[in-house]
Amino acid sequence: MSHAAHGDEFNVLKFQYEDMDQQNDSYIVGMWTFLVTEVMFFGMLFLTYSFYRANYQNDWFKAHGELSWQLGGINTANLLFSSFLMATAVRQAQLKNRMGVLMRLGGVLACAFVFLGIKYVEYSEKYAHHLFPGPGFAPEVSHFQGANLDHVQLFFGLYFAMTGLHGVHVLVGILVIGALGMMWFKGKKIVTEDYIPTELVGLYWHFVDIVWIFLYPLFYLMPNPSAGSGGGSH
């Protein structure tokens, strides 16, 4: 195949591009376009969420009490910190500081694992309380102060769907960041000579972070609809 014809190991320019500028531009635009599709992807779920929350605010308020705002809060801070680390990692990549990048990517990975660990604790607790929707859904009735349990189930349905999908994105993020870290570790020219791959991974990670920043208040911090406008959550 002709594509192998340019197997020049120092040349990271792909066959179809004229020069590095064109290639990098395409990658960056490509990443942003991908993120646009991700926004539409999550957007549909957010829309569904808003629709049902508007209809069932009382029941959902009662249901959301089951979620631990403390654990969610720790995870939010955790992800925000990892995003900060990611941004500095990109800066280090621009400076071609290999150790600096590796340290920071390691930090991001650690945060991601902590995030998933906390999520695991939260999920298993919900599961143990029979809050996972479906045939096994059998919550402690007294916790919900007479709320319609179907709507509680709907709440947890969306909770698991949305945070689960976000969790899958975190998992993918771990894989991608891990792969990027390996390339830095091995000193591959494709990452060390050019900060663009690091920046692309960074963009993805910030997106994952932003989705959580919306998820956290929507699920964990609901105002009491009966308390009138401006009512606080806790």
Binding site: A5, F15, Q16, F41, M44, T48, N55, P133, D150, G157
Partner: protein, 560 residues
């Protein structure tokens, strides 16, 4: 050959392949096809797979048509019938129409037309074909395991709580197909933005590219929504995670909103590339620059934009509010305008041209005729007042077949005939192709025009039998007769095109004497598309009908 291109030899030496080889001969192993990153080979892979699925979907359609020939419904069980029309809809929409023109012709031609060596992300392109094949496999497996019976629209709560058929696997297939579509769309949009050859400004782009750009945008914005919507239905079926089920406080109509938010724009994924094809053909075979280039280009973008704002016209008689329906109706009427512009601009292109009635042009004119009917029956359904009666009847069935089959498939056939010599380097039998074009046109009208009448009389869609309404019978008989003609019309090209591969005359680089970068390279093109550096200095469609006419007259005079 073409005057459109100035060439400069040199540059990118290390990318050059053996000048004896083209993309088809560059590597013969199965591996060299299945792991190819060449957009042209991927387009050929797509061509083979969409053809396969087209005939599978067509067989299902034949089953449906023959069953409806008699009112009694005695050929098969209702369950079988329901699975057949579901298979027909699912395969045709998700495995053929959404894919055919973009992934075959678009994939092949976009880099050639803009003077690039490949799409921006060749590996992603290959991935999209594998995703597509995975989607096809899931849907086929679901069919083999007994099939789904929900209709291709998968309306909840029937699909989520009531149907006992293989809905989840089918949905998984559609979900995967969605990602194939997203990756294709991303590739197109970024390629068109970033990979144009020097001098290829936006307004020198062929209208085919504009059509595909608009298509790519729709794929990017619409497909993720339907993907996650269908995923939710899968969750609801498998984990009983409640999202749309009314028994758990969910809203089944929300599903319809989400579904049509994608599936209406998806109609434009099917038809906008066909518009692009027709723009190319009308100008190439009128030997005249397309009339109102800017208007056609912008109307594609207008359709892509407005296409996202009209989904509610599928739901005039579902439970959306009256005011909502009125606004959707208004926007739908506005959406008719850009389509009308296109048709009239194509017509004006022929005026004072030198019209050559080659087979692509015959298919192209056939497209115009059928799309006109499809387009002009749109206002019946855009009128909320009329749609109350016509909604979900055979009138709708006929309308969208005129647009989808008459528009999209005729466009696909026209494009395939036009670019076949470029893709394969061979010429097919021109006179069979011409007569077949007319046969498809006649067969199509015979099949679907009676459906307008029977729909207007009130025949509901997706009915297995209608013994209680014998007045519908003659129209169904006509329709079934027509579908046999149409079936022949669709099968014949498979034979003569395949035949041309082995026995066809060598086409030469530019058999139609057309302008455009794709005609400036050899046929079939080399793997790197152009053996020289492409710099564009002339406008698009630089035909000169006056000079050409004078030449014709001189030649005729010389003979006399």
């Amino acid at each position: 050959m073409s005057t459109t291109v100035k060439t400069e030899v040199g540059g990118m030496e290390h990318f050059h392949t053996n000048p004896e080889l083209n993309y088809l001969t560059n590597g013969h192993s199965i591996r060299s096809w299945l792991l190819t990153e060449d957009h042209k080979r991927i387009a050929m892979l797509y061509l083979m797979s969409v053809t396969l699925f087209f005939f599978i979907g067509g067989l299902a359609a034949a089953g449906v048509r023959y069953e409806l020939m008699s009112p009694a419904g005695n050929l098969m069980e209702s369950e079988t019938y329901n699975k057949l029309f579901t298979a027909h809809g699912t395969v045709m929409v998700f495995l053929f129409l959404l894919v055919a023109i973009p992934a075959v012709l678009g994939n092949f031609l976009i880099p050639l037309m803009i003077g690039a060596r490949d799409l921006a992300f060749p590996r992603l392109n290959l991935l999209s074909w594998y995703l597509y094949m995975a989607a096809g496999t899931c849907i086929m497996l679901a069919m083999l395991a007994g099939g789904a019976d929900t209709g291709w629209t998968f309306y909840t709560p029937y699909s989520s709580m009531y149907s006992n058929s293989n809905v989840s696997l089918t949905l998984l297939g559609v979900f995967l197909g969605g990602f194939s579509s997203i990756t294709t769309g991303m590739n197109f949009v970024i390629t068109i933005h970033k990979m144009r050859a020097p001098g290829m400004t936006w307004f020198r782009l062929p209208l085919f590219i504009w059509g595909h750009y608009a298509t790519g945008v729709i794929m990017l914005l619409g497909t993720p929504v339907v993907a996650i919507t269908l995923l939710c239905v899968i969750f609801e079926r498998t984990f009983q995670l409640p999202i749309y089920s009314p028994e758990l406080g969910g809203d089944p109509v929300l599903f319809q909103h989400m579904f049509w938010f994608y599936s209406h724009p998806a109609v434009y994924i099917m038809i906008l590339p066909a518009f692009g094809v027709i723009s190319e053909i009308m100008t190439a075979f009128s030997r005249k620059r397309v009339f109102g280039y800017h208007m056609i280009a912008f109307s594609s973008l207008a359709i892509a934009f407005l296409g996202f704002l009209v989904w509610g016209h599928h739901m005039f008689v579902s439970s959306q509010s009256m005011y909502q329906a009125v606004i959707f109706s208004l926007l739908t009427f506005l959406l008719a305008v850009p389509s009308a512009i296109k048709v009239w601009n194509w017509t004006a292109t022929m005026y004072k041209g030198n019209v050559v009635l080659s087979s692509p042009m015959i298919y192209g004119i056939g497209f115009q005729g059928l799309f006109l009917v499809g387009g002009l029956t749109g206002p019946f359904l855009a009128s909320a007042g009329n749609d109350v009666h016509l909604s979900a009847t055979y009138f709708v069935v006929a309308h969208f077949h005129y647009v989808m089959v008459g528009g999209s498939i005729m466009g696909f056939l026209a494009g395939l005939h036009y670019w076949w010599p470029k893709m394969t380097g061979r010429l097919y039998n021109e006179s069979i192709a011409k007569w077949n074009g007319i046969l498809v046109f006649v067969g199509f009208n015979l099949t679907f025009f009676p459906q307008f009448i029977v729909g207007w009389m009130g025949m509901p869609r997706r009915y297995h039998y209608y013994y209680f309404a014998p007045e519908f019978t003659p129209y169904h008989i006509l329709s079934t007769m027509g579908s046999s003609v149409l079936g022949v019309g669709f099968a014949v090209p498979a034979f003569y095109l395949l035949h041309s591969l082995f026995k066809g005359e060598k086409a030469g680089d530019n058999p139609w004497n057309a302008h455009g970068l794709e005609w400036a390279t050899s046929s079939p093109p080399p793997t790197e598309n152009f053996r020289y550096k492409v710099i564009v200095s002339d406008d698009v469609y630089d035909y000169d009908p006056v000079a050409e006419h004078e030449n014709d007259m001189m030649a005729a005079g010389g003979k006399a």
